[in-house]
């Protein structure tokens, strides 16, 4: 079964991490992922650009409204997610626990389905 592990945290807190702290978190997560990568269970890790980069389309009567943001209404923002292939919820919970160790973020685990496979090439340029 495919699962998305959604990472939520207060953007203010994450943004005030120093580079060293940020790297320490990523390095620890990488160590946990290693085994999953070797066993072919690890999908892409997606990092979302901060919410200041967001644009929202909303319906307003018959019009499409384009808004800058989500607005800072909630304390926790969706910052990114991992896609993993696990046997069952126990396995993904265990994996997510190890990834989260020592961190104050929140992980939400959601089973996903590939709805459309899409046509993006394997190597998608990040900034094009």
């Amino acid at each position: 079964m495919l699962y998305a592990i959604l990472c939520y945290h207060d953007e203010d807190v994450v943004m005030s991490w120093s580079k060293a702290e940020d790297e320490a978190v990523l390095a620890k997560r990488k160590r946990v992922q290693k085994e999953f990568i070797e066993r072919g269970k690890m999908g892409p890790a997606i990092r979302l650009v901060p919410t200041t980069g967001a644009t929202t389309l909303r319906a307003s009567g018959n019009e499409q409204l384009v808004l800058d943001g989500p607005f800072a209404e909630t304390k926790e923002q969706l910052l990114g997610f991992y896609l993993v292939d696990c046997e069952n919820l126990d396995e993904v919970v265990d994996f997510a626990k190890r990834m989260k160790e020592g961190e104050s973020c929140t992980f939400e685990i959601r089973p996903v389905q590939i709805f459309e496979k899409g046509v993006l090439p394997e190597e998608v340029k990040v900034a094009s």
Binding site: D10, E11, D12, V13, M15, S16, W17, E21, V25, R47, V49, P50, T51, T52, G53, T55, V66, L67, D68, G69, F71, A72, E73, K75, G102, E103, S104, V126, A127
Partner: protein
């Protein structure tokens, strides 16, 4: 992260909101600061035991306000403070507080706090010092180090700024629409000043002071979250991200300056570039160009080029022309000359540069660019003079060393020519 490290980052994140609210309450910078300090001390004691509160800013405002009121009462009546456990067991009170602190409140508080630091009566250096102290919470020592003055001088600068602010009639009402637009521009300029101080250090041994750049970026993010539909604030944040993304490539292992076209683009920070490009894109949709957006668009064209020869100089030249219309300045003209050099050669560029002599004669980059153009044209003797002038105006050893390389090259080429002749 350890408890304490997490708490410290939470305190940093909550600082502008909490300081803003405390300032609204007490209308006094020193008292607001003391209240915030006290609240932080209690957070350090309480949070590791009870866990972090749901809304750290609301907690700090509530506890800070009570602590300051207690200290006023204690001064007058000499009664003992209630024990920490009582104060920190806020329960519903904190939740109530959070309810009342809606986003619009936060927004005005933070803006007011930033605006006070940008008070028009204060010289720019005091604005920046005050903002770093009050909004960012850097210690006087840290700010003094960043600006290369001694701690005592910086302390005086900040004290003077605070006194001016308290003497001036600072409006505490929520700013109206016109005020807000004006304030926003002043606040944006102050943030960019902080960034530039970090990006291109105005003196001393260190050429780049990253923490100042990062603090400016943090403040711009905060501002953009308060005003998510302001294209110029998107532009400002994008500009700083795109410039800061190059930090790791700007100096070599020996600390020498590496010019944009010689930089190892693999060292550029992709996360910052992605975010910067997204913001430029977003800003452009508004069709309300401003100086920050145009500069960000120029930085974006550099960031998009995988190799220096892929750079779209035509577009950069057009953007500089647009910037000259929005914000005419000899420095913009000087920058445009570099694009003209790439498109039409050194002769055409020199025609743009030479008339700037009177206004830019004291500017390091003017002589550096002029020297490089003259060298390109084979006018070595004049180039040498321009480079000497640049060295005399260099503000950091890295700048001086960079120009010295050009001079060494001139001398080496001169010798080679003499030999082959």
């Amino acid at each position: 992260m350890t408890d304490l490290a997490w708490i410290e980052t939470a305190l940093t994140g909550a600082r502008p909101q909490a300081m803003g609210a405390l300032l609204r309450y007490f209308r006094d910078l020193d008292r607001a600061e003391e209240a915030f300090q006290e609240a932080c001390l209690r957070a350090m004691k309480t949070w590791p035991v009870k866990g972090p509160p749901r809304d750290p800013a609301a907690w700090l405002i509530f506890v800070g306000r009570n602590a300051a009121l207690d200290s006023v009462r204690r001064d007058s009546r000499n009664t003992a403070l209630p024990p920490d456990e009582l104060i920190s067991d806020l329960g519903d009170a904190e939740a109530d507080m959070a309810e009342r602190l809606d986003d619009s409140h936060y927004r005005d508080d933070i803006l007011r706090l930033m605006f006070i630091c940008c008070h028009p009566d204060l010289p720019a250096t005091q604005q920046v010092a005050l903002a770093l102290r009050i909004v960012s919470g850097l210690s006087v020592r840290e700010i003094a180090n960043a600006f290369l003055v001694n701690e005592k001088a910086m302390e005086q600068r900040i004290t003077r700024a605070k006194r001016r602010v308290s003497e001036a009639d600072v409006p505490f009402a929520a700013p109206d629409a016109v005020d807000r637009a004006e304030r926003l521009a002043a606040v944006a300029a102050m943030i960019y000043l902080i960034f530039n101080e970090g990006y291109s250090a105005s003196g001393g041994e260190v050429h780049v002071r990253e923490p100042l750049c990062e603090e400016a970026i943090r403040l711009a993010r905060l501002l953009l979250r308060l005003f998510p539909a302001e294209p110029e604030i998107m532009g400002l944040l994008a500009l700083m991200l795109l410039q800061h993304a190059r930090t790791a490539a700007r100096l070599d292992a020996e600390g020498n300056i590496v010019l944009l076209e010689d930089q190892d683009r693999g060292l550029w920070n992709r996360d910052k570039i992605t975010e910067g490009l997204a913001l430029v894109d977003k800003a452009m949709r508004h069709r309300k160009p401003g100086p920050y957006q145009v500069q960000a668009a120029i930085a974006a064209l550099h960031a998009r080029a995988a190799k220096p020869e892929d750079t779209d100089w035509q577009e950069i030249n057009l953007l500089y022309q647009m910037l000259e219309r929005l914000q005419p300045s000899p420095i913009v003209r000087l920058n445009r000359a570099v694009a003209v050099f790439k498109l039409q050669g050194a002769e055409a560029a020199l025609l743009l540069v030479d008339p700037l002599k009177d206004r830019l004669s004291g500017y390091f980059y003017f002589h550096g660019v002029r020297g490089a153009l003259l060298m390109e044209l084979g006018r070595d003797r004049e180039a040498h003079i321009a480079f000497d002038k640049a060295i005399s105006l260099a503000r950091t050893p890295a700048e001086a060393a960079h120009i010295r390389q050009h001079i060494d090259r001139l001398i080496a080429e001169g010798k080679a020519k003499a030999k082959s002749a």
